[in-house]
């Protein structure tokens, strides 16, 4: 990534979180990975002033308590949080999910590949992109 700010992962599946962590490790992504298991928890983290704002949020959609779409609706309505780019990382191929996510201003939508190698490729692409792309200065 462009900076060394943290990356927020909102993911309820342990193995998926492990996969991301492992991919980060394999790709030597140095940004700290903050893992929250649902939207509510992620919001709490984001709204906690003592926490540094992440540079990117990786968001799963199907989650308990508050799912990804609900989380997006809250975040994108929030003046201070809306500028943080959100990349959806989900298993859902539903057209409706894709459309709704982009309507809510996501920066990308990636369907989690089943195969780990391709998963790593996906994470590599995200890392590469956010290395090239400018990021808003986090508050």
């Amino acid at each position: 990534m462009r900076n060394s700010k943290s990356i927020l992962l909102v993911e309820d599946d342990n193995v998926d979180a492990m996969t991301v962590k492992r991919a980060f490790k394999d790709l030597k992504v140095l940004n700290p990975l903050v893992i929250t298991t649902n939207g509510e928890e992620a919001l709490q983290y984001l709204r906690n002033e003592s926490n540094e704002k992440p540079c990117v949020t990786l968001l799963d959609l199907n989650m308990p308590k508050m799912d990804g779409i609900e989380f997006l609706k809250v975040v994108k309505a929030d003046e201070t949080l809306r500028k943080i780019p959100v990349v959806v990382l989900t298993t859902s191929k539903e057209e409706s999910d894709i459309v709704e996510s982009f309507n809510l201003g996501v920066a990308g939508y990636i369907v989690k590949p089943v195969d780990y190698k391709r998963f790593v490729e996906a994470i590599r692409a995200i890392d590469l992109y956010w290395t090239l792309s400018e990021l808003p200065d986090g508050g």
Partner: protein, 666 residues
């Protein structure tokens, strides 16, 4: 006075008058003739005797014979020889001699030389005087009686009157018959008119004279003919009018019945609850003017097959009755009896059957008509009539008709209710199933991903710890995980068909199908040809793509010949597009023709050809969603042909046709 008598008298009276006058004139004439004659005869005799006396006086011969003859005459009265001073000189009656003749007949003046006659009506006699002598100083007076003349007169009168009477009598008879003959046709006509007037219009008069009367009779008959015709038409008209009136009443009745029934039926089609409808039914029934029902009543229904009537609707019933009759067991009171027997119960007063009553209940009667459907009592219509009302079959028939309609409506409403419930259940079941499939597959996928990832890591992280068998097993595990993943994806795709709706667009299959073929990328040994011009259809592009993709990829996947041939065709058939995808592959046994379209059914083992068995199921569901049909024709070893139809109308048939024409002209 009858015409006959008028004409008769008109003819007879002048005849009598004229006859009488004529007779009178003739009689008078006859009489004066006789008088003349008598006078003349006596005059002649007296002149003769006067001459004889004169002559005898000269010759001294007395005409004794002549005087004797004279005195023997019937009308002889006297004879006198009178001197010119009037003294009777000689007479047949000597007592007169010496008396003055003029004293007897003062009206006789001096006698002229040619004689003279005098009639004395008082004494009913006449005297003729014939002078004689040289100086005519004598005169012979002959007195004669006019009695014979009187007799004659009366005889003449008698004869005349007789004659007159007989003439008049004959005339009267003749005129009678003449007039009778003359007036007969008129009478016939008059009688004919009277007969017709009395209503016998078929009556005709029989007059066959060739005069005006005959013509009149003819005209009369013609007139009668017309009259008969007219009257017949009037009669028919009247009959028709009365029939129509009757029919009109009947029509009004049926109209009212129809009106009630129509209102009920149309009401039943609206979204009105059964109870509201029943209330309206009571209002409708009681509002019919010719029906002697009071404007109150109730309708009971049987619920849940228990033999109890439950009041479902009522109009203007007293609170006591509403409470008392809120539920009525079969057999109890009027309504219960109607329900139990299935027969109408009629009462003209509150009789012993009317078991539900209360203090101060007002006098009334009832028609309680059961609502029966297929021999089953669904309920009872309870209507009120005034006390002492007479039973009228028409009223019962009407109520029965309404009850029959209500039975149908109740059955239908209940059916609809049941249907709606079932539909709702089905809908929710369907939705649940779809959601279930979606959620389950999603939830199944997540752990599966975990298994796969973890198995992957184990195989890489601990590669040196595995022996050959261990590695094979972990590979098998990963393969099975992939298969399960595909199956779940299949379920997801299938369930998405029912859940997700895409917008319909015009799809030119002539463009789409080649694209699909490119996407499948068949090996070089297989040729795919499009044999017909394909239509432009209006549909969800993804869906039609899925159909062709699945059929084509199946044909490619299972191809067992070195020179594979796949042909795509399309023909129009009975308002449908009939598409075909035919191959020269292994073919399918007929017993599997149905099975291949069922979900997760494949004919080859999974390890031979990796397949989920969802493809044809998807195709079938899509085709059926568009109202089409899919089937397969095949011969083992020679190949298979999959056919599916799409209705032209729903696929924008008109445009499609147009497009095809343009395409074929190109």
């Amino acid at each position: 006075m009858k015409l006959f008598w008028k004409i008769y008298l008109a003819a007879v009276i002048p005849a009598i008058v004229i006859g009488s006058l004529a007779t009178y004139i003739v009689a008078v004439y006859q009489l004066s003739n006789e008088k003349e004659h008598a006078i003349g005869a006596n005059m002649l005799a007296s002149k003769l005797i006067a001459g004889q006396i004169e002559k005898g006086y000269v010759e001294f011969r007395w005409p004794f014979d002549s005087l004797r003859k004279l005195s023997q005459r019937d009308d002889f009265l006297f004879w006198w020889i009178v001197t010119d001073d009037g003294t009777i000189h000689l007479a047949n009656d000597t007592s007169f001699i010496g008396t003055g003749a003029y004293t007897y007949f003062p009206q006789v003046g001096p006698t002229p030389s040619n004689g003279k006659s005098v009639l004395d009506k008082k004494r009913n006699c006449g005297v003729v005087m014939a002078p004689f002598g040289k100086a005519k100083q004598w005169s012979f007076w002959l007195g004669f009686s006019l009695e014979d003349l009187g007799k004659l007169q009366s005889r003449i009168i008698q004869v005349s009157v007789l004659l007159l009477l007989s003439t008049v009598g004959m005339l009267a008879v003749a005129v009678y018959f003449a007039v009778k003959h003359f007036t007969k046709p008129i009478r016939t006509l008059a009688e004919g008119a009277a007969t017709i007037g009395k209503g016998d219009l078929a009556h005709r008069v029989q007059v066959q004279s060739k005069d005006e009367l005959g013509y009149l009779a003819e005209s009369f008959n013609e007139m009668a003919e017309h009259l008969e015709q007219t009257t017949t038409s009037i009669d028919n008209l009247n009959r028709e009018i009365s029939q129509r009136k009757k029919a009109e009443e009947e029509t009004q009745r049926s109209y009212d019945i129809q009106g009630v029934i129509n209102r009920l039926l149309s009401l039943s089609l609206e979204n009105v609850s059964l109870e509201d409808m029943l209330e309206r039914a009571i209002d409708d029934i009681t509002s019919i003017p010719w029906l002697s029902l009071e404007s109150r009543g109730a309708i009971f229904l049987v619920e849940d097959d228990i033999e109890v009537l439950v009041m479902k609707a009522q109009r203007r019933l007293s609170m006591s009755l509403q409470t008392m009759c809120s539920s009525v067991p079969f057999g109890r009171c009027m309504c219960g009896r109607a329900a139990l027997s299935g027969q109408t119960q009629f009462a003209d007063h509150i009789d012993e059957r009317h078991e539900h009553r209360y203090e101060g209940i007002s006098a009334h009667g009832h028609y309680c008509v059961p609502i029966v459907s297929a021999g089953k009592v669904l309920g009872v219509i309870n209507t009120y009539v005034k006390e002492g009302h007479t039973y009228n079959k028409k009223e019962e028939d009407f109520l029965r008709a309404v009850s029959a309609v209500l039975a149908g409506i109740i059955e239908r409403k209940r059916g609809e209710q049941k249907q709606a419930e079932l539909l709702k259940q089905l809908e929710s079941a369907n939705k649940e199933l779809n959601d279930f499939a979606h959620i389950v597959s999603h939830d199944l996928k997540a752990p599966l991903r975990g298994i796969k990832t973890l198995a992957n890591w184990i195989s890489t992280d601990y590669a040196d710890k595995f022996d050959q068998a261990g590695r094979e097993q972990i590979d098998l595990l990963l393969g099975r995980v992939d298969r399960m993943h595909n199956l779940i994806d299949g379920i997801l795709r299938y369930s998405r068909l029912g859940r997700v709706k895409e917008e319909k667009t015009k799809v030119d299959l002539n463009e789409l199908v080649p694209n699909i073929i490119d996407l499948i990328a068949p090996p070089e040994s297989i040729t795919i040809t499009i044999e017909d011009e394909l239509p432009v259809i209006e549909c969800e592009k993804t869906r039609i793509t899925q159909v062709f993709q699945n059929l084509l990829s199946n044909a490619v996947k299972y191809m067992d010949k070195p020179q594979g041939q796949i042909r795509i065709g399309c023909v129009q058939e009975d308002g449908f597009w009939k598409f075909s995808v035919a191959d020269n592959g292994p073919g399918i046994e007929e017993k599997y023709f149905e099975k291949i379209f069922q979900i997760f059914q494949t004919l080859s083992t999974r390890d031979e050809v990796e397949s989920t068995g969802i493809g044809l199921t998807l195709v079938k569901k899509i085709v059926q969603m568009y109202g089409g049909r899919i089937w397969v024709e095949s011969k083992i070893g020679e190949g298979s042909a999959f056919f599916f139809t799409l209705p032209k109308r729903e696929m924008g048939g008109k445009n499609a046709e147009l497009q095809v024409n343009i395409v074929s002209r190109r």
